[in-house]
């Protein structure tokens, strides 16, 4: 599979392209993660393989503790696997060092978390600006404001997270995720901390933004409603993919 699309090579994840919008392909090959807990080895992920086509949306479902977050963390390169590979547009994420993976995330990934992960000291606007500023974008404030307007929070830019409801906080997080024009969006239970009604609104917004901007989407969720909206569902059980 490596080098399958040589035409993309110059646009590959490792080259610093000019944010020319291309979807990213993900290939997971025999991925495994074990940790040592006291005397015993705990196998959190065992031999997981699957692919996500460019522009596809995939839901990873499974009960709590089945290893979903661990898998997502590995796809993002936040942790290293015990074995196996993650290929983004054909290049192995783990050939890069920690800072190389960070740079890669900075260029092409957006994140949405269950616990929102907004910084309490910053306003909504500043929270959205943060990844843009880190990427050295000049008009960070304008771009961020635009995205906040898109999620319907144009009036709340100066508010701190503590002054926003959970749903509003997650909308800020969505604006932040899409502000960097990601080619992959990784979401870890984005509705997990929200009530059903608010969760539904967030799901709607997520897919709307994804349609408008386009990104390969990987969503970890318990939420059948959210999973149903994805093109494909993967079920994880005890660290293995059981249904595809």
């Amino acid at each position: 599979m490596v080098g399958e699309a040589p035409a993309l090579a110059s646009n590959g994840p490792l080259s610093n392209n000019k944010r020319q919008k291309t979807f990213m392909r993900i290939d997971i090959e025999n991925l495994g993660k074990s940790v040592q807990v006291g005397e015993d080895a705990l196998h959190i992920l065992a031999d997981v393989s699957f692919s996500v086509n460019p522009g596809e949306s995939v839901a990873i479902v499974g009960s709590s503790g089945s290893g979903k977050s661990t898998l997502l963390g590995l796809i993002a390169g936040l942790d290293v696997p015990s074995f196996g590979r993650v290929l983004l547009d054909g290049e192995n994420l783990f050939d890069l060092d920690e800072d190389g993976r960070a740079a890669l995330r900075g260029r092409g990934m957006g994140f949405v978390f269950q616990s929102f992960q907004l910084l309490p000291g910053l306003t909504a606007l500043e929270n959205v600006m943060l990844p843009l500023e880190l990427a050295g974008q000049a008009n960070a404030a304008e771009v961020a404001r635009g995205h906040l307007e898109q999620v319907g929070l144009g009036e709340r830019v100066r508010h701190r997270p503590a002054q926003l409801s959970g749903g509003e906080q997650q909308r800020v997080a969505l604006a932040r995720a899409f502000a960097v024009a990601p080619r992959i969006l990784l979401a870890d239970e984005p509705t997990g901390n929200l009530d059903v009604h608010t969760g539904a609104q967030i799901i709607e917004l997520l897919f709307e933004l994804n349609r408008a901007q386009g990104a390969t989407l990987v969503v970890v969720t318990h939420d059948p409603a959210l999973a149903a909206l994805c093109q494909r569902q993967l079920r994880l059980e005890a660290g293995r993919v059981v249904a595809n």
Binding site: G73, L78, D79, D99, L104, R105
Partner: protein
Amino acid sequence: MLPLSLRFLAREWRAGEIRVLLLAVALAVASLTAVAFFGDRVKQALGREANTLLAADLAIASDHPLAYDFAEEARQRGLQVSSSAAFLSMAQTGKKNLLAGIKGVDAGYPLRGSLRVAPAPFAEDAPTRALPGPGQVWLDSRAASELGVRVGGEVELGAARFMVAAILTFEGERGGNFMALAPRVLLTAADLNKTGLVQEGSRVSYRLLIAGADQDVADFRDWCEPLLARGEKLEDVRDARPELRQILDKARRYLGLAAVLTVVLAAAATHMALRRYVQRHFDQYALMRCFGASQRRLLSLYFLQLAGLGLAAGLLGTALGWVTQLALANLLGGVLRLGLPAASWQPFGLGILAGVALILAFALPPLLRLARVPTLRVLRRDLGPVAGGAWLAHLVGLALVAGLIWWQAGETRLALIVSGGVLGVMALAAALIQAVLWPLARLARHLPPGPRLGLLGLRQRGWETTLQAMALSLGLLALLLLTLVRGDLLDAWRNQVPEGAPNRFVINIQPRQVAPVQAWLASHEVPNVMLYPMIRARLTAIEGRAVRLEDYPEGRARNLAEREFNLSELSTLPPSNELEAGHWWWPGQTSGFTVESGIAKTLNIHLGDKLDFDVGGLPLSGHVSSLRKVEWDSFRVNFFVATPPGAMSAMPKSYITSFHLPPQRGAVLADLVAAFPNLTVIDVAQMLNELRGLTDRVSQAVQLVFLFSLGVGVLVMLAALYSRRAERAREIGLWRTLGASKRTLRAALASEFALLGLLAGLVAAGAASVLAWVLANKVFDLPHTPDPWIWLFGLGGGMLLVLLAGWFATRDLLDEPPLMALRME
């Protein structure tokens, strides 16, 4: 990178988190620089002014014209040379006589500083390089008014008449001895010869004055020291105005102590504030890593932010310090009459450097911790930094604090004592927490719910509680210690010039006048005056060994050994004397000596030693039967050596007395001198007032610096209590969700803070009592009065203060809706 970190810094500022940090460091820098600025100015001034007090860089003082031509040698070495000769003698006008200090000076006088003259008494004066012309004298205003003569009038000195050409308003070379207190008449050495007053046997004090480059003067000093004969001695600035020097030294030490403690507190506050700062940034760090920033980039981002903060704190603190030293200088400058030179720029650099260094040194360990936060934290909140050795970084911080302490203390001993005390307090606080908290927590289930929650909370946050207790103890220690030492210092200064201290001395009272003078004084409302006989004698032998100068290498001992003592006869131990060894006279004892213990030590005289004196050609000998400790600064008449009454009945003597006279009753003295024309009255009221003024102002300066440290101490406590606010908020939210009432929670918080305050107060009071005693004895050389109230202050005050600060730090948390509190992270 820099603009980005500045932008981040601005946001942090708005979020309010870093304000405590900035304030802590700025206050620390302020007190450091205030002391540095002021100390620098005083030092410069003292250096300069002390030399003008001497009128030279070095002087050879003697009671006879110098045998060796030191002046010629000095000139050949390229040094400036002048000289003066001074003695007490009568100045006369047609109507009046005055015992005045006559001083004849050579060309070039003074070599350092300048004289100031005015055209009339109390008219505006100006410095001058000139000296009185031939046939002219300058009088000080006291001499002019007591002689009733104006500028242009005439004065008779011995065989010559002189025209009063100006009023002498300032003369640096004026020590604290009796001669210096007499009204002054100044003329040239050539004119002095014409008076014929200086003859064989006159008691003249000669001084050869030398000035030049430091090294040349030092070389000259080394060369001439071995050549000095009996009655000749070297003087330099260290000998000038010892009483002022002592007060200023102590004040400077106190400022040093305050500054050192402030450093410690600032370090503690910075440490606590930075810990919290970094903990609050775990999420941010992980998130920014997740968003693609490299570790190096993030660390430099934080580093730059903190450096910027340090710079701001340094600038702010230095500015504050500069303003404070202005206030200090205003308080003190006038009284010191030092004409404080402008502050040098050095403290600016040091202040800014200290600000940056303080923050960076303490930021290093937590920053390195930050770098160990796994990025995976964005998905798994429980992941903290990987544990690991930041001990090297901690060492950097400790070394920096040690350096700052040493720099501020200005002397190793003070630095060591304070450092030891601080470490002791930290260890003690940790030990006490271990010893008390765990057993107490076992009792918890017997307590009502509020205190129970509080106690369990304290135990559950084990290490954090210990840290808090340490910081609180340090804060309280600084407050208590500075209070105690300040008390000792102010007491000592107040006692130095007690209200009603004798301010007039009368000398030259003849034996037959004793009873009449006493009666006269009593009838003029000066009752119970003690008259002491005064007999000049020279110590010739100790235990049969001749007293030779060569046996006393040390400067002071040599000066004493060659000096003529004033012996007295004492029947009872005088006030402000304390028997240290031996016994007071047996009934009927007619010979023997009682010796002041200081001089006994210097001259190596022991209880029971036989002493031989030469009293104007007559021998006097006996054994030392007691040693006395004397409070010299009591301003009473005191004697180094005395005999039992009657032991010197055959020797020629005069009597001396001292008493206090309120200023408005000064006229009595004129009547006294009219009744007994041979008496000499010496008025030290002016000098006492000066001294009192000085101690008052120095006390104010000390209080000012004390307030500073107080502020930093309170800040440390706040920082300590604020440090776990977020966790506490979540805890409170959880408790409330689980059904705890506000009242219960309030009781929990109150009992937690009260217990912490009590423990910290206990540690601080204990440590402060010990340290105050050590400091008084080893550093300040002050009598120390233990103050039992300190325990009450420590325990009660500590508890109250921590309760108050704790309430302040958590007051808004209880009113948050539980959900909000749970969300606050």
